[in-house]
Structure formats: C-alpha cells, structure tokens
Amino acid sequence: MLKLIHGEFFRVLHKKNIYIYFISLAVASFLLALSRSGRFNTYSIVKDAINLFYFMPPLAGGFLFSAIYTDDLNSKNLITLVGFGISKTKIVVAKLLLFVLFGSFIFALVPLYHCAVYAILGQVATADMMATIYAALFKFFLITIAFASLSGIAVYSLQRATFAIVLYILLTFNVISGLLKVAFNTVAPNLASCLISGITDKLLAGIKGGGAIALPIFEYVIYVAITVVLSVVVFHKKEMEF
C-alpha cells in the first residue's frame, strides 16, 4: 500500500493545475481580505476565518477529491491498478490516506496564510485567536475527510467521475443533509446529531468546552469506517468500467 501511496503522491504533485488552483484561491482570499480591510474590527480575523472555512470542504476538498479520486476514473487508472494485481481494499484505503495527507497539509497551511494576510493588513492574531481558528478549521477538515470517504462509494460503485464530484459538492454544501432533515423531520427529529455535521459539532463543542469528546470521536471513526467498508464492498461487486 505504501508503494501505491508513494506513486499517487508523485502523480498528484505532478498535476500542475493543483498549484494554479490553490494559488488562485490564495490570491482570491487575499483580495477579499484587502477589500474588507477598511472595516476590520478586533474579531474580524477570527470571524472571517470561520466564514472562509465554510468554503474549504467544497473548494479545497473538492479539488483534492477530483485529483485523488476522480482523475483515476477519467484516465481509467483504476483499471491499471487492479490489472497490476493491487487489491481493491488497498486502493480504497490508500486513496483515503492520501486524501487525509494532502488535506492535512492544505488545511494546516490555510490558517497560517490567513493570519499572515491579516497581519500584513494590520490585524495580528493572538494565540487564543489562533487556537479558535484551528479548532474551527479542524471541524471542517473532519467534514471534508468524511464526505470524501462517503463520495468514494460513488466513485467505486458507479465509476462515473461527474456523478461522484456532484455528490461530493452536494454533501459539502449541506444539500443532502438538508433534504434528509426535511424528509425525516417527523420520524427522526434528532437526525441532525447523527449526521456528520452534527457529530463534528459535538466534537468541536467538546474541544472548546473541555467536555467529553470520546463519543463523537467514536461516532466519527465508525462513520468513516462504514464508508470505507461500503466502498470496498461495492468496488468488489462492480466490474471495471472501460
């Protein structure tokens, strides 16, 4: 599996669009901060960061999802991997690990970049502010990983890139969770707490308030594990699409 992760790392890092895309996002966020700099107050750095982070799962995660998962479908690389005798379970797990690795790197850099931009514009973050920013970002990072893993089921079962990306985007913009809440409002009024956003909210509240975090962590791990198992099962059942 390490060989696969190593190769995939090499491949993603050689995708030039990834640099262009993230540099464009960085420039856009800088311009946004610049346009708001005349109206800064003490908490702008934190509030703006949290507002910015809402777009991290679809914008940063979406691009990563396409680079790591759906590029394989577009270029029929899953056929190459399976034909070379790499087990489907290893492929599913390696892809998720790769997503976590790249996601960790980008999500760790974003607050640093955000604070650096605001420092240039005259707003310096305190240690408390940084902690709040990182805690908020952590929630969105977990959401991104979980939604990528969930959308992975579509990647392996349907082997259609467009469908998988649309599913991922709908998940990250809370369209699907919103529909579920409406649909099951009367039957399961507490459904929201069982969905990934609810689980990560509980986890974030626990971290901030010093409360219990074991249960939400357990729920989160189970959630991701179920999506991985389902991905493996559907991948084994599905014939390779040529």
């Binding site: 690389n77 005798g85 014939e239």
Partner: protein, 301 residues
C-alpha cells in the same frame, strides 16, 4: 516440453444471457508469442479482462504461473496493455515513473530504456496531447516495465502508422528473442500477427475455435497449383512419369504444393500424354481466407 505459464479451463463470461466467452480453454507456454485472432467483438478483450482480473468470470478457472488461488500476486509479475490510458497531465517519463512506483521497483534507467525502445525518449508533451500511435507506444512501454515474464497486449498496433507497426513488431521480436518473454497479443489483423506470433488461437463469438502453430498455419495457407482435367488417373500417371508424386485430388481437380514454377512443363506433359487440360492456375490461400474459412465466412477479418 515447454513449461505452461498460463492456462484457462472452460473460461466463461456471460453478460446476461450473452456469452462473451464460452468455455475458453487456452494454454500459454513459456516463450510463446501467442496471437489471439478474432473479429471485433469476438471476445479477445473480454478474455484479457478476465485474465487480468478486470472482469469477473462466470465459470472456469485461470491459472497463472501455476497459481490458481492468489492470482493478484501472479498478476504483479505480468505486464498488460488494454486500451492504453495514463493521466492526461503526465508526460511519458512521469507516466512510467508513476507505474514504477506503484509496482514498487526502482527506476534504475528502466524508464529511459523503455522510452528509447518505443521512441518516446525525446517527448516532453503530456499524454493528453498524444496521438493515438504515441498512446499505443506508451501503453506498450508501460506493459514492458519491469521486464515481466508474461505480457498481455490488446490490439497493440491499433492506430500505429506503417512504420510504427514495423517498429512495434521489431520491439516485440527483440524482447522475445533477448529475454524469452511470453507474449499474448490480440489482433483482428492476422497477417500482422503472422509476422511475430509462434502460436495462434482463433476466437469467434466467445469460442476458441482453433489453436494452431505458426508452422501448421503456413501448411494450411501455402501456395498450390490447381489443374482441372478430364481424366484424373491418367493425369496422375503422366505427372508421376515426370517425377511429380505429391498430387492431391479434389473432385476433377488436382492440386500440387510443389513444382509451382514448372507449370509450363506440367501443362506440356499433360497435353502430350493425351489429357484434356481445362484449367491450370496457381493459387494461394491467404491468411485472411484461412481465417474466414475457419469462422465460416462473414465480414473481412
């Protein structure tokens, strides 16, 4: 006796009620260049998909390198090219390096060697800008990466220009001669496979209808001299008298597979011997004709 490196027994693949493969039992021996010949849709690619684990088999077994249970491990020692596909943003060097990494072996000049072999060593553009021929070449380089003992190539000359076809043939021949690599190559162009293959398997509607060696194939397709005469026994006697013994008879026609350039003397001897000679012509069964006869007519192979 040659060692068997791959074998299928009753390999069957059904899509609904349609038999894409129907009880295909094929044996690949060490050092074979096996040409799998069939029309479009005959089942060649499906056979390869099953062998490479890309499609589930409905029935039958596959054995690679004596391994039946853990085919994934056996497949790691194989190279294959079915519809060459690489990431559009990688150049040929990066594409092969990627394959090196996922296969888990160090490059050590292998990438450069293969790029040179398929004449892509000077190419820096990315895969998305490749012509079909270049894609085929890179696909073949990918299949040969790591010097696998068995190489599966599905329609490797598709999209290649005439020079490219010659080059590809030379590449396969050289690798086969130098390292004894076993190849199984599919094509619907029998005459092209004829130049590299040592054995052939003919597949039609999912059924492997015949396996034949290169020598036997040429036995079936060599030139003959056909004569139509009024009196067969008399004609045979005349021919025997001038030293021609290997005459075969088909109705009122005689066929000779030797003395092909003595048609003038043969005609004179028959007429002088009192035999009415209605027709005399030289004819060769082409590989395509042989193939079409084998599959029972239809479209061109």
């Amino acid at each position: 006796m040659a060692q068997t490196v791959m074998q299928t027994h009753g390999l069957t693949k059904k899509y609904g009620e349609f038999h894409a493969l129907n009880a295909v039992s094929l044996t690949l021996n060490q050092g074979d260049v096996y040409g799998l010949v069939g029309r479009n849709g005959a089942g060649k690619t499906t056979f390869f998909k099953c062998v490479m684990g890309l499609a589930r088999t409905t029935a039958g077994t596959i054995e690679i390198g004596g391994e039946k249970a853990n085919l994934s491990a056996a497949r790691r020692k194989m190279g294959f090219m079915i519809n060459p596909s690489f990431f559009p943003y990688l150049n040929p060097r990066e594409s092969l390096k990627y394959l090196c990494q996922i296969k888990g072996f160090r490059d050590k000049g292998e990438v450069e060697r293969l790029l040179k072999l398929v004449e892509l060593d000077g190419v820096s553009k990315t895969f998305k800008a490749f012509s079909l021929g270049m894609k085929q070449r890179l696909g073949i380089a990918g299949a040969l990466l790591g010097s696998p003992s068995i190489v599966v190539l599905d329609e490797p000359i598709n999209g290649l220009d005439p020079q490219g076809i010659i080059d590809m043939r030379e590449v396969i021949k050289n690798i086969h001669t130098q390292s004894g690599t076993t190849f199984i190559i599919s094509s619907h162009i029998l005459s092209e496979l004829d130049l590299v293959a040592t054995r052939f398997g003919f597949i039609e509607q999912g059924v492997l209808i015949k396996e034949i060696t290169h020598e036997d194939l040429h036995e079936h397709t060599k030139k003959s001299l056909f004569m139509e005469v009024d009196d067969i026994p008399k004609a045979i006697a005349v021919l025997n008298a001038i030293g021609i013994k290997d005459v075969s008879v088909n109705g009122n026609r005689l066929a000779l597979e030797s003395h092909l350039n003595q048609s003038n003397q043969i005609a004179r001897a028959l007429i002088n011997g009192g035999v009415e000679l209605y027709d005399l012509h030289r004819q060769e069964t082409t590989l395509e004709e042989y193939f079409m006869r084998l599959i029972g007519g239809g479209q061109n192979a």
